[in-house]
């Protein structure tokens, strides 16, 4: 399929992103502006920005592809993405904002007063961020080749370049604005074609999907998805717990003025996400009706883009396809930008910055080292995205959630609520959860478990969160009990800062803005 309208839409989205980024550059002056938009973003803008950043390739294309391939069970993916924000809201939103931490490593160090834990957290941020960036680049390649017939690797390159250009030029101030606009682009791009396609489908006498039994029934293991009940629960757990530990989520909370505002913002986010996710399964179901078999060489992740032309051949179909392709590109760009900022921030602050500073004798300015880190943050997942990958977009993203749920989730929840968390306990839990979840992830993404594809081993490796996350919690708690002497002396002070409303705290305790 070759569609000039699609190329135009994709170019337009890339161009708008770059222009807003350049406009934002004039506004961002200091390093603080660069990272967190000078902390002056209203709740609604902030909520749009969080949602815009969060709705990734997995949401825009992946969910429809999974529903198309595996039926009703996959509806739990978007539910999990949304409930993840609810869990984040009720357990950590306000305390995280009150902690004053920019990034997850900042929080880890603040709470546990340990450089070691900080470095461990930094390594995990980079790992989770790279895992999450990978499907964004792949999705871009897929979208571009579906719409234009260009080789898939071109789309990967386009997104990687636009993201680096934008992050390097504008930083967070522009990113916040870009992200907020991106949400509304994405919502329009997913809802308008959905309404049109549904109307056409209804006028045609709403033909039922041509499908084998089990597509519309929950937990039926449609298309040989093994152990559907376990997979459903494990996926749900990963998404519910993993959201709070994603590298690009915490930094957004810093742009709220205080803890109460952070909560208000999160409620709006939950509503915006729910609104978006009502539309995504529509494409999976309608594709079952109109695209009963996938064209050779295309993955199910592409059904959203194929559907319009199948329903209304000709100009209208091309137009709707173009709108969807533009929206999908908005999704890749926004999520990849947010992740790149976070990963680059961590690489810059903890791994690269200090060394560069020493090596150049302080000649390099802070922002330059951040820019170098941004290039590094994109390079590795871009290279990996060119390799053959075994799992679908939403599944790869699901694995990133599983790693976050098994590492940062226990750290954040216990760190915020439990005063007996010790440094040793936190470290042991992070290592246990990280090694197990990352190990399972690498095994299933690289397809190393192919020999045991049939059985439980494969199911456990493909959806590891159900066993890795509880294990990480358990290790963190047990080791903390065993090492009471390693509880940081500042624990009580930190907990006051996390939980007491800002106006009660002594000025000395509040981090000055």
């Amino acid at each position: 399929m070759r569609s000039p309208a699609g190329v135009a839409a994709i170019s337009l989205v890339c161009l708008v992103t770059l222009v807003i980024g350049a406009y934002g550059l004039r506004l961002s002056r200091t390093t603080s502006d660069f990272y967190v938009a000078g902390r002056s973003v209203s709740a609604r803008w902030n909520a749009s920005a969080i949602s815009g950043e969060y709705l990734s390739a997995a949401s825009f294309l992946g969910v429809a592809g999974l529903v198309y391939s595996f039926g009703a069970d996959m509806l739990w993916f978007p539910v999990g993405y949304t409930v993840g924000y609810l869990v984040l809201l009720v357990l950590v939103a306000a305390p995280l904002r009150r902690s004053g931490a920019y990034t997850l490593p900042d929080f880890a160090e603040l709470r546990l007063q340990s450089r070691g834990i900080r470095l461990l957290a930094s390594a995990l941020v980079v790992g989770v961020g790279w895992l999450y960036l990978l499907p964004q680049f792949q999705g871009a390649g897929l979208a571009l080749s579906t719409v234009t017939g260009a080789p898939p690797s071109l789309g990967n390159l386009v997104v990687a370049l636009v993201v680096v250009a934008n992050v390097v030029a504008g930083g967070m101030r522009s990113i916040t604005l870009v992200q907020a606009v991106q949400y509304w682009i994405k919502l329009t791009a997913i809802s308008v074609p959905a309404f049109v396609l549904l109307a056409v489908w209804l006028r045609a006498g709403h033909p039922g999907p041509a499908l084998s039994a089990g597509f519309d029934a929950a937990l039926a293991g449609f298309s040989a998805r093994e152990h559907p009940t376990y997979a459903t629960y494990s996926t749900l757990l990963a998404l519910c717990l993993g959201t709070m530990g994603l590298p690009h989520v915490l930094v957004r909370f810093y742009t709220n003025p205080d803890g109460t505002a952070a909560r208000r913002t999160t409620v709006i986010v939950v509503a915006l996400l729910g609104l978006f996710y009502v539309f995504t399964p529509v494409y999976g179901v309608l594709a079952r009706v109109y695209v009963p078999t996938l064209p050779a060489g295309l993955r199910s992740d592409a059904v959203t883009l194929l559907l319009p032309s199948a329903v209304v051949p000709g100009g209208l179909g091309d137009l709707l396809s173009a709108i969807l392709a533009g929206g999908a590109f908005a999704a890749f760009l926004s999520t990849a930008s947010g992740l790149t900022i976070s990963v680059a921030g961590v690489i810059d602050q903890d791994l690269l910055g200090p060394r560069l500073h020493r090596a150049t004798g302080g000649d390099l300015r802070g922002i330059q080292s951040f820019r170098l880190a941004a290039v590094l943050a994109v390079a590795l997942p871009y290279a990996a995205s060119l390799l053959a990958i075994n799992t679908s977009l939403a599944d790869t993203v699901g694995l990133a959630f599983a790693v976050a749920a098994s590492t940062f989730c226990p750290l954040l929840i216990l760190g915020v609520w439990w005063r007996r968390l010790s440094v040793t306990g936190a470290g042991a839990g992070l290592v246990t959860g990280g090694v197990l979840a990352l190990g399972a992830t690498v095994t299933s993404v690289a397809g190393l478990d192919a020999s045991s594809r049939e059985g439980w081993v494969s199911a456990l490796l493909a959806q590891p969160a159900a066993w890795t996350a509880p294990l990480a919690f358990l290790v963190m708690v047990m080791v903390s009990f065993a090492t009471p002497s390693r509880i940081p002396a500042s624990t009580l002070q930190t907990l006051v800062r996390l939980h007491a409303p800002e106006d009660l705290q002594a000025p000395a305790q509040r981090k000055s803005a």
């Binding site: 609810l86 929950a218 749900l236 519910c240 509503a271 009580l492 007491a500 002594a506």
Partner: protein, 158 residues
């Protein structure tokens, strides 16, 4: 006399007088040099207000044992609320797959054009999550306001 750091002045056991002309009661007869006269004042005389109570938030900030009690109370109240919300949503979200697994008949029920699982999981669950989030924000805000009131009152008992 100077105020003690805590602001709670020690009250003298007998009421002293501050008329300088009165002979001090402990003056020994026949002593050549009288002991230096000391001006003694009652804390009540020039008391502009009852001895200043520290606001409870000070206990919190200064990490006293009392502050720890306050913090525990706040943590408990917030955690109880969070767990209640999570339990409510968790019963629905994690209970639905179990319900569908245990009662397979439900999977085939049609509501208008949609099968029941699609209607519930695909659409109805989202407003529910938003409502839960709103309830949480309202209640947690209330807990914090009550806590702030408690902390800023001079007399903590109501």
């Amino acid at each position: 006399m100077t105020d003690s750091p805590g602001g709670l002045s020690e009250r003298p056991t007998h009421h002293p007088t501050d008329h300088p002309t009165d002979p001090p009661p402990d003056r020994l007869p026949g002593a050549t040099t009288p002991p230096r006269r000391v001006r003694v004042t009652s804390p009540r005389r020039d008391a502009r207000r009852p001895a200043a109570r520290r606001p409870a938030s000070q206990e919190l900030v200064e990490q006293t044992a009392l502050g720890e009690v306050y913090l525990s109370a706040l943590l408990r109240a917030q955690l109880r609320l969070s767990l209640a919300i999570l339990l409510g949503v968790g019963v629905v979200v994690f209970g639905l797959p179990a319900l569908l697994a245990l009662v397979p008949g439900l999977r085939a029920v049609q509501v208008g054009p949609l099968p029941l699982p699609w209607l519930v999981i695909g659409i109805l669950i989202y407003p529910l999550i938003v409502v839960a989030a709103r309830i949480y924000v309202r209640q947690s805000g209330r807990i914090e306001r009550e806590f702030a009131d408690l902390m800023t009152q001079r007399w903590p008992h109501r």
